[in-house]
Amino acid sequence: MSISTENPMLTTPFRIKGVRKETHDTFTLELESQNGKFSFEPGQFNMLYVYGIGEVPISISSDPTKPDGRLTHTAREVGVVTKAMKQMRTGDTLGVRGPFGTRWPLEEAVGRDVVIVTGGIGLAPLRPALYQLIAKRNQYRKVVLLYGARTPDEILYQKELQKWGGEFDLEVHVTVDRATGAWRGNVGVVTTLISRALFDPSNAIAMVCGPEIMMRYTIQELGKRGISNERIYVSMERNMKCAIGFCGHCQFGPMFVCQDGPVFQFNQIAPFFGKQEV
């Protein structure tokens, strides 16, 4: 249930309860809802409004199994609004509209192997899905998380990654694109982990989030391993304004990312995925 079902254009003020620096340019804002409730599905996003500056779509990165009003978003400073957001402190107020969009296919994945392939900030939109997979771990077969970051310092949620691999029967493999001496983990693009991971391609469902070019090569590798396009789900990004299918800003082929996405079954978007200007 969204926070303002009557008027989806209405922004609700949320107080910032905590700010956490994740990497040099990425941070997590913990927001507190006034009525102590906020329900959402893994994969959905909110429109976050920095008063006087502007509004941007940011995925929800908190735990959907605990709808206690504790809502987190992990964002990277890339431009005007995210820069202003990074400067916000505990006690400041941020406007929230949402949640919007489609969810990761966690129900469809019941009884199957789950392969999550993600890169950079792309781990944030998948964190709610991981929380849910962990909460209902016995409903799924193998759960594999393959995550690529630029350097060891740019790995998101480091402690959680260790915990997920260590305590929760998840197969977690992290790789970085470049590293020097002290790093003892994998080096190479995230796609190289796909051929090494242990899962059953004939029954696996894949969830992919990252820069589009990374997703393109990931889908190719998943295909080579035998996962067909109907069992691959991707999360897409396009510029947004209304987030409710009115303005057309987020058009992607015949679809609107804000309503038909951001999570798409890949076979639905394959004809125009990776093409310029769609």
Partner: protein
């Protein structure tokens, strides 16, 4: 008892290799173990072997202009390192360092080159397999060069 030939038959790089060819390969093979941080080979040295990794992890490194070692790739179980034995002047282009205890099968490149000259079917089979590995590594390196997760803000400032 497991012989080198049966161990090699199970390695991903040699999967579905014909038995007679496996037999020839095993005649040039030996078991090797590398301790963590032990160098397997150094750039510029004579490249007369390649390695089938059975367990562990190996970092492929290059030295930066400042002489620091930068890891450009890691290779693990079921993978292969070293193709410089195939192409003149048979010198390593990179350093390879075991990151953790690594068990591998070393194949003597000089011995194999002679056998491939005599048995072109074997030579062609090996070349197909190595070409596949080289193509995969090349496309992975190209992606790495794109700086996939670089910040657009920093790029526009450059």
């Amino acid at each position: 008892m497991e012989t080198l030939e049966t161990i090699m038959a199970k390695h991903d790089f040699l999967s579905r290799m014909k038995k007679p060819h496996l037999k020839i390969l095993s005649g040039c093979a030996s078991n090797v173990v590398f301790k963590p941080d032990q160098y397997i080979f150094h750039e510029g040295e004579r490249a007369d072997r390649f390695y089938l990794i059975r367990a562990g992890k190996v970092a492929i490194e290059i030295r930066s202009p400042e002489k620091d070692s930068i890891t450009i790739d890691t290779v693990g179980q079921g993978e292969v390192i070293g193709w410089s034995w195939l192409v003149p002047p048979y010198r390593w282009h990179f350093d390879a360092r075991a990151v953790e205890l690594t068990r591998a099968i070393a194949l003597d490149g000089r011995c194999l080159r002679t056998k491939c000259e005599r048995d072109h079917d074997l030579g062609y089979e090996l070349l197909k397999r190595f070409t596949n590995v080289v193509v995969q590594r090349l496309s992975a390196t190209r992606l790495q060069l794109l700086d996939l997760y670089g910040n657009p803000l920093k790029r526009s400032k450059k």
